[in-house]
Amino acid sequence: MAHVVSATETLEEKLTQELGFDDQFHEHHHGDKFQSNFLTTYIFSTDHKIIGRQFLITGIFWAIMGAAMSIIFRLQLGFPEADMAWLRPILGKWIMVNEQGIGKLDPEFYYSLVTIHGTVLVFFVLTAGLSGTFSNLLIPLQIGARDMASPLLNAFSYWFFFLASVVMFLSLFLSTGPFSGGWTAYPPLSALPQASDGSAAGMTMWIVAMALFIVSALLGGINYVTTVLNLRTKGMNMWRMPLTIWAFFITAILGVLSFPVLFSGVLLLMFDRSMGTSFYLSEIVVGGQILDRVGGSPILFQHLFWFLGHPEVYIIILPAMGIVSEVLSVHARKPIFGYRAMVLSILAIAFLSFIVWAHHMFMSGVNPFISNFFVVFTLIIAVPSAVKVFNWISTIYGSNFRFNAASLFGIGFVSMFISGGLTGIFLGNSAIDIALHDTYFVVAHFHIVMGIAAFFGMFAGIYHWFPKMFGRFMNETLGKIHFWGTLVGAYAIFWPMHYTGMAGMPRRYYDGGASFDAFRHFEDLNKFITVAAIVVFFLQIIFVINFFYSIFSGRKSTTKNPWGANTLEWTTPINAGHGNWPGNIPTVQRWAYDYGKNGEEFIPQYIPLREDEHDHGH
């Protein structure tokens, strides 16, 4: 095998010389004068590869924070009687210690934890940390561009995210506590400081952080769209783009179209909070005080929120889908099955995701007639989703499947997406949703289909592209322990929630339903879930250790293309500088999935078609 790789390498150099596109790169940039010291190379960099890593590491920070929060509130749910006084050094007054010295988690802070956990995981980890990381890393590399269309705006995109992170982080230290009204931030609760402590300064900071985050998402998104449309190398027509690029491209379009709506939503909320307007408020008596606000509608906010909120779940999952499609195909040594169907289903899902938002609002008081349309569109989404699942499975069929941490997480992703997607079919049917809305069934649904699945996509991507990011490999053994443990553990956490949900147990109950006869008989289950959560948390620590250890001391990558993949990122030097290719940019001659064709194990995209050869991307 070794000699095959080096042969392609020389062939690659030859072809890049002959066919590659010469943009006089070396004449303009003698090195990159903007990357002359540590600060400009690693911190205020405009290199998309560095920015991608910045997104990733900030995302990992927030993932650890969010997961730690979930462990604290899971302890509360699993062991409500337990003494939490030992958390006082970290949580301070949010642990209420009684005369016997028994510490209890303050309910207000419980809700803060749940809220911040949801917010940071959805936005900071699974949007910025996933799409931000891989769009940045892979778009220029895989389409054959030297950088993003606007490297500067791209850097701003990260720094706005960074600012958003700082503001959100600081809000954790407010004396009234961080925002506690749920990640969906429904008014009037989120609008009225009288209704909840977290809706005071905590909510103001939450809104500021979200506004900064939206700016970041828009700057990034516009850049990704422009780059994909304009900076593809010669020969890279749209039908030759790897599915990763399709996914990032459509994700960016979703973000650009829907984030502004959330922005207007929270802006109006800000007005209601501080300028006396009544967009969302009407006829309110809170804490004995009669408010002089009439004419607004709390439901308006829900429309604005979910108009982003639903596309947002696809903003999270599409990049993971793209990554998994690529990773599975590479390690199956087989083309992705039904490439066109995969692209078309991404397009269909993206389009439909804009007209299903009110399936989150069946029980919110909107006219029940309107729900008819949303049920129809929602359940139609199951069709392209099913097509994707069948195609992934068919990709593995007849393959020569290499098991490694990346490809295993790819399989795990498909399993999670199936399990969680199927419960969506229950929830999307408004009649069934009457019973299941706002119960643990929904919690199970979205954690499996979005939370875990997207994380698995992200892990697949990290293990797969780690050599491209850091020139080293992550430890495979730890990776496999990480995978199998997390796969079992994640199901152990979320699968049982279906049962409590069916029993009617509402989500967001501080005492786990202990005051209700109907809900309080799940103590054992709740304990089991909490223990599983702790184990899974521990496994993620193993991942984090593996990640940082491998950056500095992982096994060195000695070949440019360690996986034998077709896409262009593997034609760059192992540690590529700003500009990616030292000489010409390779041009693209074929689609990205010629694995196992004509007796070759793989045929990279820069290899010209043979005379009689049929190209699958045209």
């Binding site: 009037p188 909840s196 008819n372 098991f403 049917n429 049982p496 501080y510």
Partner: protein, 497 residues
């Protein structure tokens, strides 16, 4: 201390794992790439199979274990009429998704195992298959169509509002941080108007008491009752933030939105005791209700329908519990009869009562009834004392003998009483308190008593059956020491002679 030990253990395990990772990496380098791939195939292929088996078995066993939580199954059958349709939808969806879940998971992990890397295998070049793709697009599409049609049918039936002439009870639930205020209409069957600006500590939901429909409305206590088999429309509102009116066993769930009343219509089909008797058949409901009291009542005996909040509303969100009792129509009627009007018991006559100066029709009716009963018992009584009755609701213009308009219904009641007992004669007596000049007091009381007698004769009572006297302040009921007592002493009485 235990925390420290646990922490040390975790650190130790981590170090061990990291070391294992390092060692295997080193041996991998020695073994070479092919050997590693072979090992990977062997072990992870095996793990795929093991996981597949454990997962599928685990899912089916745990589903069996928790089958009693399944909507529409066993002790978790719907207690409302519409809930049955919805539980059926759940079951149908469960069957379809269950099949897909099983088949796709078997395919996924089996293929991963079967096609695991081996030196001798070559991956097949299969890029697509149009026929297969059309089939597996069409099948989900057909299934979805079926689910949508059935689901929407159920949905539109469930969510339909009551028709204008339909026989239904309408009650009202108002969510506030952190409890529910439940209001029933009085005998008029209608809920009175509300205006949130009228909210006070005593008028929690801002009832507009100038609206007569409010006068008989009932705000119920901890337990609310509903009759079985009768359609109920719940009008759902919120005072402060969003709440959600959630009755799990009835499959009723609807947001309570400030400023925007919502509703849910449902028909309970099982009384609380029906439901208890069903639960009785299941083992878990035969466990003691209170684990600390193993000989105490069983779970099924203490079962109650519960009302919960299902929309995050602040730090007390989890505690908005109320009990709903579904009973037979007779029991319901009995309970309902005992409920008292919130307005009449809590607000009437107080400062915040907007109708202080008015007599309400309900009161006139009530008083007429009470009057006819007391005159009857006075007539029948042997006791001298009991033959004197006070006319509580007649008033005169200040300092004059003219009857106020509001006083006349009481006298009409007296007319009715005297007609009912044609044999009786009465003495009408005026009394004052001790303020002012005793002589003019006596005169005023005399005139007032006479005014009453005059009114009665105008109403056709024979003047011979009446006698009027004025006692002034000579016959007080008690000491004239406080305003209250003085008010008691100012009175008009009649005595059956």
């Amino acid at each position: 201390m235990t925390a420290l030990i646990i922490l040390l253990c975790i650190i130790l395990i981590t170090i061990v794992l990291v070391q294992i990772g390092k060692v295997t990496e080193l041996t991998a380098q020695i073994k070479g790439e092919r050997e590693v791939l072979r090992d990977n195939s062997k072990w992870n292929g095996l793990l795929s199979l093991i996981f597949l088996v454990i997962f599928m078995v685990g899912v089916f066993v745990s589903t069996w274990q928790y089958k009693n939580q399944m909507l529409g199954y066993g002790p978790h059958e719907s207690a409302s009429e519409h809930g049955i349709a919805l539980d059926d939808m759940f079951f149908i969806t469960l069957v379809f998704t269950g099949i897909v879940f099983l088949l796709t998971h078997i395919a996924l992990f089996w293929f991963a195992y079967k096609y695991r890397w081996s030196e001798n295998r070559k991956a097949e070049f299969i890029s697509h298959d149009n026929r297969l793709e059309i089939i597996w697009t069409a099948i989900p599409a057909i299934v979805m169509t079926f689910l949508v049609v059935r689901g929407l049918n159920a949905w539109n039936t469930v969510m339909a509002d009551i028709g204008p002439d339909e026989d239904a009870i309408e009650i009202e639930a108002t969510g506030q941080q952190f409890n529910w205020i439940i209001r029933y209409p009085g005998p008029d069957g209608k809920l009175g108007a509300r205006n949130y600006k009228l909210t006070t500590a005593t008028n929690q939901i801002g009832q507009d008491f100038t609206d007569p429909k409010n006068w008989d409305d009932v705000v119920v206590g901890q337990e609310l009752y509903l009759p079985v088999g009768k359609k109920v429309r719940v009008r759902i509102l919120a005072k402060d933030v969003l709440h959600n009116f959630f009755l799990p066993q009835f499959r009723v769930k609807m947001d309570a939105v400030p400023g925007l009343p919502t509703y849910f219509v449902f028909t309970p089909i099982k009384t609380t005791s029906d439901y208890r008797n069903e639960l009785r058949k299941y083992e878990e409901y035969n466990e003691p209700f209170d684990p600390a009291d193993p000989t105490g009542p069983k779970r099924w005996e203490k079962f109650e329908y519960e009302l919960a909040c299902a929309e995050l509303c602040g730090k007390g969100h989890y505690s908005m519990r109320r009990i709903l009792k579904v009973v037979s129509q007779e029991e319901y009627d009995e309970w309902y009869r005992k409920q008292e009007s919130y307005y009449l018991t809590q607000v009437r006559g107080k400062d915040e009562d907007p109708n202080k100066d008015k007599v309400l029709d309900v009161e006139i009716l009530q008083r007429a009834k009470a009057f006819s009963e007391s005159i009857k018992s006075a007539v029948e009584s042997e006791d001298e004392e009991a033959k004197t009755l006070t006319l509580n609701h007649i008033n005169f213009e200040t300092g004059a003998a003219a009857l106020t308009a509001n006083s006349k219904y009481e006298l009409d009641n007296l007319v009715t009483g005297m007609n009912a007992f044609p044999q009786i004669r009465i003495e009408i007596a005026g009394h004052t308190d001790n303020t002012g000049d005793p002589a003019s007091n006596r005169e005023l009381s005399q005139q007032r008593a006479a005014a009453v007698a005059r009114y009665l004769t105008e109403r056709g009572i024979d003047a011979g059956r009446l006698r009027s006297v004025g006692y002034g302040d000579t016959k007080p009921l008690g000491p004239n020491d406080t305003d209250e007592n003085r008010a008691k002493n100012r009175r008009t009485e009649f005595t059956i002679l």
